[in-house]
């Protein structure tokens, strides 16, 4: 919403500077997005001077040295480059200390060796126009020494306001004047209507009827007939007002409707009466696929839930949004039907969005125009039309319906203000502020009944009154105070705790955290995760073609980050991201909290010292540490070979599942895919995904287990087996066998794998795994005999009727 200072001054005597006005508006809730001053700003030390003499500069052909009087005791010596003046001319003189537009500071100086005590100015230097060809010679010779602001009327300042959707009242110049009047304690003068606009005599010669099909859509419709107008350009003041706020003048009638729209916030529409077919106006819903060519010369196809203003044959206006070319007033128009109405905000909004067509009218209708302003605005426009374009109002206005009621009076107590604000304010101050905004208060003991004007549909509860009071009272009056805190029983969410710990663990281990968009291209999702995922994870309204799907994994994004870094000449070794991913389970999408990481097998850049290359187990190590931080015991994770497009077969594994609420995948990424992505190096990766329920599972406090004071006895067991058998399976079986083999007095729970061998000395496709079993008792030192006995039992259990042989 643009508003000019001079227009505002038609209603209030505003003597504040543009800066003060801007600040006041900003701090009262009408945000000034921009303020632009055209014309002469307020200038200090710029006065009318007269050139006393003009001599050639001794050292410069193009400069002259002038003696200039500004009425002070001493004349000023000024060096000047302009040519269009002579002694006796009066010109604007900027004396030392002046600051010209563009923060140009005038100081005493020397130009080519000659002192200069100021500057004579061109029009452009004073922001008075574009002319910079020479000095601004003041032809009507104002008094010498007169401040330049007294010679030229003040410039125009235009504020561009960002009006929040709750403030339809501020979408008019009068509305903003009302706001400023409240802020600066001024009186507002609303234009008086003339009797001539109330009703004409006789009947309208060109409008017989107004029909409103659905009063729910249009509760109030008014139409006024004006006969015998003379179309033409608008007067200067009207054109200037419109141009200042960025509107293009068209002709007097259209300009008046636009001007009154801006003045009052009520949209108006003028029809050329001769173009109305059937001498009637029908406010109806459009028929499906009905066509209309709007004033922007685009054909629009309407649907049955959009309102139109039509004559007997065709739609003439998309109701509340824009008129058509068919009934537009033009230079030949003599008779006018002027419409002023109130349309249901939601309907106008819907139509405007659906057509992708927003106008000054729709913007206001969809935010709720003042129901009591409908007729006022029409009459205000008629007053101006009759004055400017001539003509007479004929007939009674055609009125259909009633203005919708405003909000009900609000009951509240002044004490409610103090309670909500947290500091004491006088009820007289509250009353004064609310009244300045157009509200009225009936006092009944400690109870107030506050009547709200119809232009403030946003105020309907006591809390809304507190807001109004505080806006005008000033938020700077909220006293500063220390924070008062009472303790509450609450802990951070487990998701946040996990994220914090995992981030610290990974960054401490050399990983760099990334943030990557949560949406991915559909093609990628389909390739890596299959058609089911691609179908389930697509957005309804993506904006960019490579951001169409929810991501099921953090890895592709990390690869993108890696690629970008390599292209930039960086050599990141370890990257990670914390984020949400979405999986698909039984046709439903499951949101999971995920950590993804990638690490290079070896750095690309040379280094003086070799380090051990990373492998599957490096990725597994990181993955299980993350699982541990998530509260999952790594011993419960069963890692199995992974079959997936993303991962390299034989060098990758997964544990858990989406269904279990914990899914871990790690290992080598498919080398062909990495190469296709133009990524250098061999890339290992891991992802850990957990549902919120998994992370929020409350971990029990670890209970203390007594530790043995007695020595342990070790035995080694080496088994030969098919190379395909996973070590984890064998280990689990040995644990079970050991548990069964040991009597109550001791156990053998510490079992570790210390060697895996494949090759010479073993059958083909076989391997040997060697386990160290540690026996220990809580009660005593173990005897050799009982340990041997238990060990033999374990050995037998593992080698009899099993796929394992004892390695000889």
């Amino acid at each position: 919403m643009k508003v000019s200072l001079s227009w505002l001054r038609r209603y209030i005597e505003l003597d504040k500077s543009p800066d003060e006005i801007e600040e006041a508006l900003n701090l009262s809730g009408l945000e000034v997005e921009g303020a632009k001053t055209l014309g002469l700003p307020q200038l200090e030390n710029v006065v009318v001077g007269e050139v006393v003499s003009r001599e050639q500069h001794p050292n410069a052909d193009r400069l002259s040295v002038c003696e200039v009087t500004t009425g002070s005791e001493d004349n000023h010596n000024i060096v000047c480059g302009a040519q269009n003046f002579q002694p006796g001319d009066r010109v604007p003189v900027a004396l030392p200390g002046a600051v010209l537009p563009g923060n140009f500071k005038i100081k005493k100086s020397k130009l080519r060796g000659v002192k200069s005590e100021g500057m004579m100015c061109s029009a452009r230097e004073l922001n008075l126009g574009e002319d910079h060809s020479g000095l601004l010679v003041l032809a009507d010779k104002p008094e010498i020494g007169t401040p330049i602001n007294e010679v030229f009327p003040e410039g125009e300042t235009v504020f561009d306001l960002a009006v929040t959707p709750n403030r339809p009242d501020a979408l008019s110049i009068i509305g903003i004047a009302r706001e400023l009047a409240a802020l600066f304690s001024l009186k507002i003068k609303k234009p008086e209507l003339k009797d001539a606009s109330a009703a004409g005599s006789g009947a309208s010669p060109f409008l017989d009827s107004v029909e409103v099909e659905d009063p729910g859509f249009c509760p109030l419709y008014t139409a006024f007939s004006i006969q015998g107008v003379k179309m033409g350009p608008s007067p200067e003041w009207l054109r200037k007002d419109l141009e200042a706020i960025g509107l293009r003048p068209i002709n007097n009638v259209v300009d008046i409707t636009n001007w009154v729209l801006m003045e009052t916030g009520q949209p108006l529409h003028a029809f050329d009466a001769s173009k109305l077919r059937g001498r009637c106006i029908k406010v109806r819903m459009a028929t499906e696929n009905e066509k209309i060519t709007t004033l922007d010369e685009k054909e629009r196809i309407l649907s049955a839930d959009m309102g139109v203003i039509a004559d007997a044959e065709r739609p003439l206006v998309v109701a509340g949004v824009m008129g058509s070319v068919d009934a537009e007033v033009d230079e030949n128009t003599t008779d006018i039907v002027l419409e002023s109405a109130w349309f249901k905000p939601e309907s106008v909004r819907l139509t405007s969005r659906r057509l992708g067509l927003s106008s000054d009218s729709s913007y206001r209708f969809e935010r709720h125009v003042d129901p009591d302003g409908v007729v006022y605005a029409a009459r205000r426009a008629i007053d101006l039309i009759l004055e400017i374009a001539g003509g007479t109002l004929v007939g009674e206005p055609s009125v259909s319906g009633e203005p919708p009621a405003g909000t009900d009076p609000i009951s509240c107590e002044p004490a409610f203000f103090n309670k909500t604000l947290g500091f004491d304010v006088k009820s007289a101050d509250i009353r004064q502020i609310l009244e300045s905004l157009g509200l009225s208060i009936e006092e009944n003991g400690s109870q107030w009944t506050v009547n709200v004007p119809t232009f403030r549909p946003d105020i309907d509860r006591p809390i809304d009154l507190v807001e109004e009071f505080l806006r005008i009272h000033g938020t700077h009056n909220i006293p500063a105070s220390p924070v008062q805190v009472s303790g509450l029983h609450a802990q951070d969410d487990a998701i946040a705790i996990f994220g914090g710990r995992a981030g610290k663990y990974l960054s401490a281990n050399g990983f760099n955290e990334c943030n990557i968009y949560s949406t991915r291209p559909g093609e990628e999702v389909e390739t890596l995760f299959g058609a089911k995922y691609a179908e389930a994870l697509k957005l309804a309204n993506p904006l960019a073609s490579d951001q169409t799907h929810l991501r099921p994994s953090l890895i592709p994004g990390l690869l993108e980050a890696l690629h970008l870094n390599q292209a930039h000449g960086n050599d990141p070794l370890r990257l990670f991201e914390k984020g949400r991913v979405h999986h698909v389970l039984d046709g439903e999408v499951v949101e999971m909290i995920s950590i993804g990481f990638i690490l290079l097998q070896e750095p690309l850049q040379r280094h003086w010292q070799d380090t051990a290359p990373n492998d599957f187990f490096s990725a597994k190590k990181v993955s299980i540490e993350i699982a541990r931080l998530a509260g999952t015991d790594p011993d419960t994770l069963v890692f199995e070979a992974l079959e997936s497009t993303l991962w390299q077969p034989g060098h990758s594994a997964s544990a858990g599942s989406v269904k279990d609420g914990c899914l871990v995948e790690c290992g080598l990424l498919d080398h062909k895919r990495i190469a296709d992505l133009d990524i250098k190096g061999t890339i290992l990766a891991g992802t850990c995904c957990f549902t919120a329920e998994t992370l929020r599972k409350v971990a029990s406090q670890p209970g203390f287990q007594p530790i043995s004071d007695f020595p342990h006895a070790n035995r080694d067991l080496a088994l030969v087996m098919d190379a395909k058998i996973p070590a984890g399976q064998v280990l689990a079986e040995i644990r079970k066998a050991a548990n069964e083999a040991c009597p109550d007095e001791f156990d053998a729970q510490e079992i570790s794998i210390f060697d895996v061998y494949q090759g010479e000395g073993l059958p083909e496709n076989h391997k040997s795994i060697a386990f160290a079993i540690s026996f220990r008792s809580m009660e005593r030192t173990l005897k050799e005999k009982e340990v041997n006995q238990a060990f033999e039992t374990i050995t037998r259990a593992m080698t009899e009727n099993t796929p394992y042989d004892l390695r000889s």
Binding site: R349, T420, L421, F423, I478, N541, L564, H568, R580, E588
Partner: protein, 348 residues
């Protein structure tokens, strides 16, 4: 015999320096204490001595034996030290860089988030989390943003198709699932579960259907706060936010509240700060967050009695805070993850 013993010790002392390997040490030991060693031979002579001299001589032999053991053990130490040095190689050049010299880093957005949360945690706020895939009810209806509100425009919010099914979440009527445009939905979910008093922060990623440029990002992060209790007022809100910005930007930071509009708070404010510690932005009013008193309509959706309790809420963009704190001029840096950017925010 004593002379023999004396000579033997001398021989061991003078010979020890020549021993430099474990094999030589074994031989060296054998010459004294082996089966044919000189000390063994001398010891055998004890039997020929008169009985009264035997103990004296025995004691002497023992003394010599200990002397020899001491010599052997110092040779052993010397050999081990030499072997260890050989194994460790020459002295290191401690000024050489380590192989993996890239330090790990947490993303500047993570750091800013933690900084924000840390300040509020001091004054009794705890963190709640919620899903990024949300429903229209939790993001809009429950937050007093009716279907006709411009904020619900398909233009600004990412929607999921009508047949989208989300695990653990039932749709209300014909509402849609959306990518959350703010984290306020988490506050609603929390209030629906907990009775007041509630004092929470909801940080997290949000989405806006927006074309990306230097100041706009389609993914962004917020930290929102909420406090609901008996008699919470506007002055409390200002006190908490003043405390926050003074912790974040320095104790000389000034604040101002500009009245504004959000559907879920009434009254609503934008808060500006002015500080001397902000580089190029020093001394200017900078918009930093939105806040206000929780609208009574919001309480009605979560079963709180607006007559009994009141509350305040605030929300800020983590990107914006990080950009102000570090003087970052383009929001896209956060999502490009160039190592040269990330490494500027090394944890110290």
């Amino acid at each position: 015999m004593e002379e023999e013993l004396h000579a033997l010790v001398k021989q061991a002392e003078s010979g020890q320096n020549a021993v430099s390997t474990r094999a030589e040490l074994a031989d060296f030991k054998a010459t004294f204490v082996g089966p044919n060693g000189s000390l063994t031979t001398v010891s055998k002579g004890i039997g020929k001595l008169p009985n009264d001299q035997k103990p004296v001589f025995g004691k002497k032999i023992n003394e010599v034996k200990q002397r020899l053991e001491g010599i052997f053990s110092s040779i052993q130490d010397k050999i081990e030290a030499v072997e260890f040095e050989a194994r460790m190689g020459p002295a290191v050049d401690p000024s050489l860089p380590v192989a993996e010299s890239q330090p790990g880093t947490e993303h500047p957005l993570t750091q800013a988030r933690e900084q924000i949360i840390g300040i509020f945690r001091q004054i009794g706020f705890t963190v709640v989390e919620g899903p990024e895939l949300e429903t229209e009810f939790f993001c809009f209806d429950a937050l007093n943003t009716p279907a006709s509100h411009p904020a619900r425009d398909m233009q600004d919010t990412y929607y999921l198709p009508g047949d989208f099914r989300l695990h653990g979440e039932q749709k209300r009527d014909d509402e849609s699932f959306i990518l959350r445009p703010h984290t306020s939905a988490v506050q609603i979910r929390t209030m629906a579960k907990r009775k007041p008093p509630v004092r929470i922060l909801s940080p997290g990623r949000c989405f806006r259907r927006d074309t990306v440029d230097a100041t706009h990002s389609a993914n962004f992060h917020q930290v929102e706060g909420l406090y609901v209790d008996r008699e919470v007022n506007i002055r409390d809100l200002k006190a908490v936010l003043d405390h926050f910005v003074q912790e974040l930007f320095g104790s000389d930071t000034r604040t101002r509240f500009r009245p504004s509009f959000f559907p879920f708070t009434e009254p609503s404010f934008e808060m500006d700060v002015q500080s001397t510690n902000l580089g190029k932005l020093s001394g200017r009013w900078i918009e930093i967050l939105g806040c206000g008193m929780v609208d009574p309509n919001v309480f009605s959706h979560v079963g709180y009695d607006a007559e009994e309790v009141s509350g305040y809420a605030f929300g800020m963009g983590v990107e914006r805070i990080a950009m102000i704190l570090h003087g970052i001029d383009d929001i896209r840096h956060f999502y490009q993850n160039d190592l040269r950017f990330l490494q500027q925010f090394k944890s110290v």
